[in-house]
Symmetry: C2
């Protein structure tokens, strides 16, 4: 038996007990006649004392050889600590050691195993098993485990059953790229790894399972942006005989349940806003509503003067920055530089200071008088002491730019509080989205999303105007879940594929099984999927997902710890009936 207590268990009530502990050496302090060792495991830290007067001599000698991260086992007696440590639960006691066994020595770790480590991202990823020993990473993984347990408990309670769908499925070349898997037994053919279990969960509904969920890995072979992973985890759900309202209610309840369980955070019903409203008010379909700074559109109050920039702009829109009137000229210039960065892309920024005396001072005083500016203040909700920032240009672009500015300023102003949670539903998404490059429309959500009743006819005339039974759950400026009511009849699904540019043959080849299924009594159904990695990160008060993934990949899709992907040997390729065809520059 390696231990009878963990390193987080012992208290004053255990004094005088003989105990056996195992763990890692966090640090040692050698005062010559006394050696203290902090012994660490997943559960905490317990102080050991090797006392020349009370510990066998050879044990004291052995203790002097201990280095950081050695794995040891000790036996000893729990004694009261002279100088207590109120910061840790075991701080009232220490162990007077009688026996010491070194279970495994350790080389000096390449970075310190501390909450604030000296190791950079790259080295920590290479030695991820050491990084996981650090509290912030360990606690993130434990937290993730708690979140998934709570999700499962809630959904089971609501009558959902968890069903595993297959990982080796069929490639559908449209949409994002699939990862594929050559089949040795079916020569020349390939499986694909699922981008989501979408069609399978719909088939489970056709199969009558009524309420399905699964916490499941999904795969997308995309050029990785920061904080995206080629494999990611979804909480995937689907329900039969439901309308949008039913689904929103269930998953709003789940989200409330999680916030209550994990943070004792209670919240009223979630706001529901339309996609159009979100874009108009926040320039963004996943607004952070922990703070205000809502957009004020200014077209009607700026176009009557000689300011050409505004007169020619499709949209002129501003936000009021709380307390911003006190910014210096230099600070404002920096802000203007910030919006002009290529990542944001604005051509410039007009500003108005709302002075404490009720007057306005703007960068366009040449064109607009105090009455004009008062109207701007009204439209943006600016109060005395605020700064109004105004951007102009093509509607979509300027909204995105002002949204970026809004988020940046909120960040700087400390308005994005990690322990505050402001969920909302964004509903009535467009069914189709125009790909500006190709000029083609593609499905904004996916091809199985149903249009709003009575809007099918618009598909031919104004495809961009068709609204879908699609909804996103947004939390603190992040989309944490999204879903839709699905098409459940073959005819509508065929029309949809046609509008998405599938030939009849392509639709049949790729999704024939689903359209067949719709002919054998498919129920009305819909669902939602949460991105677990992000959900957990946000619930954990963070925005980067990497610490909530045990073994993440880097931005080239590599696992630098195990050094994957890697080359195969010739035999493996031959068995799979494939060979490499490297591009010319290799």
């Amino acid at each position: 038996m390696y231990r009878n207590h963990t390193c987080g268990a012992l208290r004053a009530s255990n004094i005088n007990t003989e105990v056996t502990l195992s763990g890692w050496v966090q640090k040692t302090r050698d005062k010559g006649f006394m050696i203290w060792v902090d012994l660490r495991d997943r559960y905490g830290i317990t102080q050991l004392i090797f006392d020349a007067d009370r510990t066998p001599k050879e044990v004291v000698e052995k203790a002097k050889t201990l280095g950081r991260e050695f794995v040891i086992q000790i036996k000893g007696k729990v004694i009261e600590r002279e100088s207590k440590n109120g910061n840790i639960p075991t701080g009232d006691i220490e162990i007077l050691v009688q026996e010491l066994e070194i279970l495994n020595a350790a080389k000096l770790p390449p970075f310190t195993i501390e909450d604030e480590t000296d190791g950079g991202e790259d080295i920590r990823m290479k030695y991820r098993y050491l990084d996981i020993r650090r509290n912030p990473v360990k606690e993130s993984l434990v937290f993730r485990s708690q979140v998934t347990m709570e999700v499962r408990n809630f959904l089971a309670q609501e009558g959902f059953i968890e069903v595993e769908t297959p990982y080796l499925i069929k490639s559908t070349p449209e949409g994002a790229r699939d990862f594929v898997v050559p089949s040795r037994m079916n020569e020349g053919q390939f499986y694909a790894l699922p981008q989501s279990p979408q069609t399978f969960k719909q088939l489970l509904m056709v199969g009558g399972l009524d309420k399905y969920f699964q916490i499941v890995k999904c795969f997308r072979d995309e050029d990785l942006r920061a904080d995206r992973q080629p494999e990611f985890t979804q909480i995937d759900c689907e329900m039969s005989f439901v309308e949008q309202e039913d689904i929103l209610n269930v998953f709003e309840k789940l989200t409330k349940y999680l916030l209550k369980k994990l943070h004792n955070f209670e919240i009223e019903n979630f706001p529901r806003i339309t996609y159009d409203y979100a874009m108009k008010t926040y320039g963004n379909d996943k607004p952070d509503i922990r703070f205000g700074m809502e957009f004020g559109e200014l077209n009607t109050v700026v176009k009557h003067k000689d300011f050409k920039v505004f007169n020619e702009a499709e949209l002129v829109v501003g936000i009021a920055v709380p307390g911003g009137a006190s910014y210096t000229r230099k600070e404002i210039d920096k802000l203007i530089d910030w919006v002009k960065r290529p990542q944001v892309g604005a051509l410039g920024m007009v500003y108005v200071k709302c002075n404490e005396d009720g007057s306005f001072k703007s960068s366009v005083d040449k064109f607009y008088d105090q009455d004009d500016l008062a109207k701007w203040a009204e439209a943006t909700g600016a109060k005395t002491g605020d700064l109004i920032c105004v951007l102009s240009g093509p509607t979509n672009k300027v909204r995105a730019q002002l949204s970026a500015l809004r988020m940046e300023l909120a960040e700087r102003l400390g308005l994005r509080k990690p322990k505050e949670f402001a969920p909302l539903w964004v509903i009535d998404f467009p069914l189709l989205e125009l790909d500006e490059e190709t000029g083609h429309y593609h499905a904004m959500h996916h091809p199985f999303t149903s249009p709003k009743p009575g809007q099918m006819e618009l598909l031919d005339t104004e495809p961009g105007e068709v609204k879908a039974n699609a909804y996103d759950l947004v939390l603190n400026g992040n989309e944490i879940g999204g879903g839709s009511i699905r098409i459940y009849d073959k005819e509508t699904q065929s029309i949809m594929f046609k509008h998405l540019g599938f030939t009849k043959e392509e639709a049949e080849e790729q999704f024939g099984f689903l359209m067949d299924a719709f002919e054998y009594g498919a129920p009305p159904h819909g669902g939602l999927a949460f991105g677990l990695d992000r959900l957990v990160a946000i619930l954990g008060g963070q925005e980067t997902i990497r610490d909530f993934i045990a073994f993440p990949k880097n931005n080239s899709g590599r696992d630098v710890m195990i050094d994957a992907p890697a080359y195969l040997n010739e035999n493996q390729l031959k068995e799979l009936n494939i060979r490499l065809q490297l591009s010319d520059n290799k």
Copy 2:
């Protein structure tokens, strides 16, 4: 709102309530003036009545158009049923329908949606979404979901945390074949899908997570035997600072918990037998101990006569078949034919009838007298009325043959009762196994399994004799779990790789990260993995796993429903920098 009750909810207490139900038409009975419809959903069946006197005429007319598996919604009043049906929970009531909406029509399904269907395996797999509507399949999937919930609840209670390990990892060409995934971003390189998360869970132990579990898909590209799947699910567990005894205790407790929760089946401590004992007594390392028929070795009591077959055999061994003395000559001949089938491969079988009068009648009376045969009866535990079946030959072969016969006879005699559970531990497995074809030893469990203390030296001299800290959990003749205490120091691991035929470079390339990790303070650790598919099937009282998998693949690894795997288009291959190289006969 599609429904306010499910089809399994309504009782006599609901009489006179107005209800809305949705579901599938299970069957209709049209008596002209009255039409009854059985409406089905996941939760049950409710009888609908369309009565010409009390239901609107157009609704009755519409009801006449309903076919099997139509999806409908009805509104009506709960009324008392005239002829009650005691077989279903809703049997006291029926719904007098006032409104009927056909939500989706259905083509006639290709097989009947009944517990006993007329559909063969192939057609049911092609239309798996219809097969899932059948109670036996639906209930198997619901049962699986229950089992996994219970497993998670138990392990969470015991302090395990669930950690997701990656699916895109590195190929290790030794052992079973990997499924591989070409990397587009890392030209010419491939990921592999995990055969198990073995090395990752060990790294989590090095990372200090202490108690890990995961319910996880694993992948093995093997030529499929019946009832094997290329993707399968494991309950994967690992613990730190444990000895074999600790692990056995935790997972024995889990198994007891499942048997109690799922079947209210209570059981004392599980028997523990060694691998050697299992082979000697049952000819098998996963014995079914719901019944006896233990092997009686007969070498010492058969070799003194002139029966050459026995005298030349390495092992002569028999079992006593309860009541088998009454078998006719014809029945016994059939049994002999059975053991001579190529799948079993015995050359013949000697038998002894233990007559009611205490005498013996054998097929080798020419060689052995009554005193001899009495000793056989003693060795095999045969009683009057039993039949002793004796096989002979090379030890390993004859044990396998007699084991097959023992299982077959137990099946025929009804001794393998599906609702009876007899778990046991088989321990002290050999570390290495001789591959008869190549003459090389390979790891019986896997290369990370530790040898029993003090047995490392035997590796050079008698590798086949080294015992491992490895154990299997066996239930009703199936291995449902297996694991080991792992090696946790670099030196031992290196020696092990050497003995398994790895060069130093190969070991470093494939498992360098693990051996590095062992140098930074690896704790003693060990674990176990359950095969979930089989565990669920056996707990469900069945032996075939297919009904417990929502979308299984066939014996060629194909999903016949979605028709995968499939050919990719040229562009996809090109992007992945591979091309097909089909074998000559294609």
